[in-house]
């Protein structure tokens, strides 16, 4: 983790999930995710322990429908229910978080993950209060859709006392795209 940027971990994790479980190509996008006035979905999953925070994937409803259809192995012309779309986006957040966790667990040994949730609307944003850091990454799915992966986090007091905060700072210092 010392040598890898947080964004790299996010990107590697998301690529693994999309290519292994969803059968869609995923790459870093050149342009930021901007849903404008389109309805969008935010799949989130929170975690506590050495770090408290929230991993999120935000995308347009159209993108989420395509992801859900692929996850469920549906034909392109089949209608995906909103319940299936929400469930699928929650699972994407869950699996990406699991993949991130497995990549950082040598450094952050104590991280408990919650059950995912999904919200829909326009111009969705999540927040974590004071001292929270946010790292975000625009991604391109199948060359058709732009979406955003983000992690909001803050170090737990016990982790800070154990010296983990210094490692966390070094990660962010090496990460110019951290917001």
């Amino acid at each position: 983790m010392e040598t890898k940027q947080f964004n790299d971990v996010l990107l590697e994790s998301a690529k693994e999930v999309f290519e292994t479980m969803i059968f869609m190509e995923l790459a870093k996008a050149d342009e930021p995710f901007d849903p404008k006035d389109d309805d969008s979905l935010l799949g989130t999953i929170t975690f506590t322990g050495d770090m408290d925070g929230c991993l999120a994937i935000g995308c347009t409803v159209d993108c989420a429908k395509n992801v859900a259809a692929n996850m469920l192995g549906m034909d392109p012309d089949e209608q995906v229910s909103s319940a299936d779309v929400n469930d699928a986006m929650g699972e994407v957040a869950n699996m990406v978080m699991g993949s991130v966790k497995s990549r950082i667990q040598e450094q952050y040994t104590n991280i408990q993950v919650s059950i995912p949730s999904v919200v829909s609307g326009r111009k969705l944003e999540n927040s974590l209060g004071e001292k929270a850091r946010r790292t975000a990454l625009a991604i391109n799915i199948e060359g058709d859709f732009t979406a955003e992966l983000s992690i909001l986090y803050r170090m737990h007091e016990t982790a800070t006392q154990a010296g983990l905060a210094n490692k966390e700072v070094s990660v962010n210092a090496a990460d110019p795209s951290t917001n």
Binding site: M71, G98, K101, S102
Partner: protein
């Protein structure tokens, strides 16, 4: 000899993905049940035991860890094999689940090969 399976996961999407992955792995099941949480699974297992349970950990109502303990108390599930399927990947948790009565562990994201590897030793 037949092979019966139960998939326990609170996500209907994940249950479908697991079914698809099993088909892709080439493993053949004679029957497949589904349950959305541990409590629902336990109710079904009480009357209809299965050979293999694929079980998530983080679920509402009754989580995977509790389900493993409860299944091990069911006399009609003595031979049932329980494979946990989860994003949780810490060795400590895996050891705890195995000590509690689970027979195997598959981490998400997974591949058909991983299912083949973990399930085939328990197939009839």
């Amino acid at each position: 000899m037949s092979n019966s399976l139960m998939i326990v996961d609170d996500s209907a999407t994940m249950r479908k993905i697991i079914m698809r992955t099993i088909r892709m792995s080439g493993l053949e099941m004679d029957s497949t049940e589904e349950a959305g949480n541990g409590k629902e699974a336990l109710e079904k297992l009480s009357s209809s035991p299965v050979d293999i349970i694929l079980c998530d950990i983080n679920m509402p109502e009754m989580n995977g860890m509790e389900l493993v303990k409860k299944v091990r108390e069911l006399s009609n599930c003595n031979d049932t094999k329980i494979i946990m399927v989860s994003t949780e990947s810490s060795q400590e948790l895996i050891d705890e689940l195995m000590a509690g009565g689970a027979n195997g562990y598959i981490t998400k994201p997974f591949t058909p090969e991983k299912f083949q590897d973990k399930l085939s030793p328990f197939m009839n």
